[in-house]
Subunit: 339 residues, 2 copies
DNA sequence: TTGAAAGCGGTACCAA
DNA sequence: TTGGTACCGCTTTCAA
């Protein structure tokens, strides 16, 4: 914040008022071409950049959108969402203030306050808890667009995934391969992503006259171990399903690992599906059949809503639900007649 | 940016001037305790938050640091760096404006301009090219702290890694296991991360009276394929080394994949090391011995320098070099007498 | 103890 | 075609 040139600096050099300079730089119709050129030349030489904070203060506008996530990377998809958010915001001339809450409610509140104080016009938040009252309290009138798996569908503004539909897709794919004994593997704690998957799965199975099996094991914080534990539970419990659908890719990796440790090949003996499609990139050989969640679209839609709210356009859709799509790779295959 | 309460709003309700309210809220010594309490109560009820943009405008300060990366996630470590940047900045009351340049010079410039216009006090940038003149031009007097592998070590402000040292560590570890025929696998394009690794490796080998072998194949953009290609090249070229050090973990994964495809076990037949330590988390089973790069420390140091520059403390270290540390897992083992 | 005035860097409105 | 004045929300200085 050093001695950056301002309108006044230019005005002194040009022998004009700062008002005339402001107009000249913005090509106002009531300034002579000669003056404009002279002013612009001086501005260029000085490397003048307008102070957007001052401009926005007067115009009662903002040039920034806030975003908060529990963490970047770390087996989340927020990095993918952010990339698109940054792109979409930049296209419309908005900066993005990003904060990582480190899964702490306290930090979440502090970041909200800071961003709101710094005049972000809207906040895109993936909360770290289902209870978001502290966020709303901290943000006051600044609109909050919720994203992520912990969000309840009755928020004013939210971009969500339809995990019921995921259940239908998973069952459709696996039964299409001839599987009839299919288990869904999930973990705690209970939240919308888990219960919707369970409900969607159960419904899809029952619609086909099949008995849904659901195994809940472990914790989302160590989804890979949860996958391993779930397989162990199934192995102890009688007949093993011919196909597994796991609540996340990371859990599916754990499940595959446990299966292989027991000499069960994938997909030869057991087919395995995941959810999210986060691991194709870092580990292309995994060949995990999964349900791709459209992270980019979610980010794009969130930004569009944010800017619509900021600029007062009311036709924006305040809530949108996104559906996953099937990505068939090599971890699922035809069901054998018998195991 | 709607009808948020301001000092004036409170002043009207309290029947005071906005100046008195300002003072009361900041616990100025010249306001009576009774008035302070009354004012604070009203502010609380209204959910008043100070407009930091206005405050900073007057105080000629800033509350934001900028950061720009080529992309979040996508096999980079910028997500890890960002998490620490966010934490360290928040601790000191600063927000972080983050932009993803999508590896485009044009977007890089646009983001710089936007952030500078929005009054970030300093920028932490991982540039997408070695030539950073466009960045400096766009940022003007705003200080830029460079991070990442493309940065030349003569920048005013930079947080870098010492890849020479990485070479020494890799050779030390592998020769300690009895390996004498060691190859370094790298890729294009040439930049500091690659050449320093090559130099450090060569020097460390020669110091031990060993002949360094370096294979360059493929491109950093598909490091996994580069690793596979490099192994193929080596297989065609006579005696296979007993150990490989790869320029990145991702390349090491490719190398291991190719080795296994040829029936060469790791570390039984060939030991393999990587660099960066990015994949322990998403894929713990990989068991890759690697060199851990202290991403968190880099982020922390960058923020500390940024804030020191913003607040005018000059004792901050403008350039720091960080060293990787060895992480032994299961992809390296004792050299056999003969292959 | 309180408040009026000035200023941060911009823009809008109106008079010259 | 210009420039003066007022204002955005806040803080500092100084006078009442």
């Amino acid at each position: 914040m050093s001695n950056r040139p301002t309108l006044k600096t230019i005005a002194q050099i040009a022998g004009l008022s700062h008002v005339a300079v402001s107009k000249a730089l913005r090509d106002a119709p009531d300034i002579s071409a000669a003056t404009k050129e002279r002013v612009k030349k001086i501005a260029d030489e000085l490397g003048y950049t307008p102070n957007l904070a001052a401009r926005n203060l007067y115009l009662q506008r903002t040039g920034a959108i806030g975003m908060m996530v529990p963490a970047m990377g770390d087996n989340t998809a927020y990095d993918l969402i952010f990339n698109r958010v940054s792109m979409a915001a930049a296209e419309q001339g908005y900066c993005v203030m990003l904060g990582s809450s480190h899964r702490s409610v306290d930090l979440e509140v502090r970041h909200c306050r800071m961003m709101v104080g710094n005049q972000v016009g809207a906040l895109i938040i993936a909360p770290c808890t289902s209870d978001v009252s502290h966020i709303k309290a901290a943000c006051g009138p600044t609109p909050v667009i919720f994203i992520g798996g912990k969000v309840e569908p009755d928020e004013d503004y939210a971009m969500l995934c339809d995990y019921h539909h995921s259940g239908e897709l998973a069952v459709e794919h696996l039964t299409g391969l001839g599987h009839r004994d299919i288990a869904l593997l999930t973990y705690g704690p209970e939240n919308r992503t888990v219960t919707q998957k369970e409900e969607g799965f159960s419904l899809a199975m029952e619609r086909r006259g099949l008995a849904p099996r659901i195994v809940r094991a472990g914790h989302v914080g160590d989804a890979m171990r949860a996958g391993m534990d779930a397989v162990e539970l199934l192995l102890r419990g009688g007949e093993f399903p011919s196909a597994l659908w796991c609540a996340s890719d990371y859990m599916a990796i754990g499940a595959i690992k446990a299966l292989k440790a027991h000499g069960l090949s994938v997909p030869g003996c057991v087919s395995v599906m995941g959810h999210d499609d986060l691991y194709a990139d870092p580990w292309p050989d995994m060949g995990l059949t999964t349900l791709h969640t459209p992270m980019g679209e979610i980010g794009q839609a969130a930004v569009e809503l944010a800017i619509a709210l900021i600029e007062g356009r009311r036709q924006a859709r305040p809530r949108q639900v996104f559906q996953s799509t099937l990505v068939v790779r090599s971890s699922t295959g035809p069901a054998r007649r018998s195991l």
